[in-house]
Symmetry: C2
Subunit: 253 residues, 2 copies
């Protein structure tokens, strides 16, 4: 049974793309053939893996808008076993372009139908719009990255409500498989306070692995490499490898 | 001539709301009566100023959707001279609700017509959707916060293209009055590199004042206070006061 993990949080800058890229790389390193689908018009996950684009390159836009086969747009990443369905800026207009069409929220689910990867990660933009709804409709599970800062707490209730709506009307099988604490800064009380709130709110669903705030993680995308290639011995690499183990474990049940 | 400053960047988590709240507070401290309009469904600027909401409180949603008068939803902030038009989660659905109506992008401009504040700040969500387009259509100028990190550079060309489109078709008078470097971490090369790129790209338009990465800035919203009330002597407060002076200066020409 393949797993499709949507990485979702409408709050901006919480580490969605960083998690998609680095968790994807770690899963591939562990021998799990993994597809990363970039649904964010900013295409950060695409460039974070060093994939060059031109405005004319095929992307997830062609799949959602023109019915292109997902397999036809997939490219290989530098990490063996990791594949990417790149995004493009054209995705920014999709909400308006698909308004009024039949079942716009299920286009990704149909496109993923014939595709064969045991693990699929979906990177989403910072909004609860049609692209994120497509991801939640196609996914088997949701991973929620939460930055250890106050503003990030505020949107959580709303995020859970949106997920519930999708579970009720579009995808009954969807479950929240995990909540990931990111950018944890052990020198500040703020991180501890927020982490405490998140654990009270989500309990067991919070991953034990916590991603530390580390400049090496912010530097890696400028080299087009995941942290496991850019600085394999760093705290960031260790944290994402630990997360990867937990993600694999949670898939066993 | 009143100034309407849209704080825009579709990249998430770059410091839009933090800038709206703290620049607003500093402008009010300097004696400029200022209105902060929160257009982000996450309502971070609203809560960052300690304004309590219930799901039934009047908000910018009622203004854009139901034609409520903007003045009727304005509340006072704790800072004398600073007023807030609060947001609400209902804004998240506005793109779909207004699709197909006549001139949806000009609703904010009409609503701001009768309103009388010398300075108006517009906080935007992390997307180039209808809410941000409304802000760019209503604004006299744009302030672009840019986080000193690699991913934040990637969306700049697209952001400029969107602003050009608005200038051509919706708001000829709109200009980019300034670019603000945020979360600058002097201990890392990454910040220097990104700041250098931004200055090469934007030249004079980059504000001299640079906002340092400072945990006090991230703590202040959990107390519902701008930095000038939470920790007036901090580096963050000094940086936003310096920015405020530059913003006032740039308005003189
Ligand atoms: N653990 C970390 N430590 C330090 N920096 C980080 C960490 N995780 C992510 N970053 C940096 O923080 C910024 C935001 O992260 P990222 O872009 O992955 O978030 P996002 O949720 O995908 O943002 P968006 O909402 O715009 O899609 C980026 O510049 C990234 O390099
Ligand atoms: N200079 C700074 N130093 C440290 N933390 C900061 C700084 N500026 C903002 N922050 C924190 O970084 C996070 C992102 O900032 P903020 O929410 O203002 O960005 P935004 O662009 O408004 O995000 P969104 O795209 O979700 O609207 C918040 O938790 C905020 O408290
Ligand atoms: Mg992202
Ligand atoms: Mg914001």
């Amino acid at each position: 049974m393949r797993r499709i993990i949507a990485i979702v949080n409408q709050k901006g800058g919480v580490g969605k793309s960083t998690t998609a890229v680095n968790l994807g790389a770690c899963l591939a390193d562990e021998g799990h053939r993994t597809l990363l689908v970039d649904l964010d018009p900013q295409a950060n996950a695409t460039s974070g893996l060093g994939i060059e684009r031109t405005p004319f390159s095929a992307s997830t836009y062609d799949v959602l808008m023109n019915g292109a086969a997902l397999e036809d747009i997939v490219v290989v990443a530098e990490v063996p076993g990791l594949y990417v369905a790149p995004s493009s800026i054209h995705l920014a207009g999709i909400e308006v372009e698909l308004a009024g069409t039949q079942g716009p929220e299920s286009r990704l689910r149909s496109a993923l139908g014939p595709v064969d990867y045991p693990l699929i990660l979906l990177d989403c933009p910072p909004a609860m719009g049609l692209l994120t709804i497509n991801a939640l409709t196609a996914a088997t599970e949701v991973l929620i990255p939460i930055q250890c800062e106050y503003y990030a707490l505020e949107g959580l209730k709303q995020l859970l409500r949106s997920i519930e709506l999708v579970q009720r009307h579009l995808n009954q099988g969807l479950e929240i498989s995990g909540v990931l604490l990111t950018m944890f800064d052990s020198r500040t009380n703020l991180s501890d306070q927020v982490a405490g709130e998140v654990r009270r709110f989500f309990g067991e669903r919070v991953y034990q692995s916590v991603i530390p705030r580390s400049v090496r993680l912010a530097e890696a995308p400028s080299h087009g490499k995941p942290i496991t290639l850019y600085d394999p011995g760093s705290r960031g690499a260790q944290a994402y490898r630990a997360l990867c183990q937990e993600v694999i474990q949670r898939g066993r049940h």
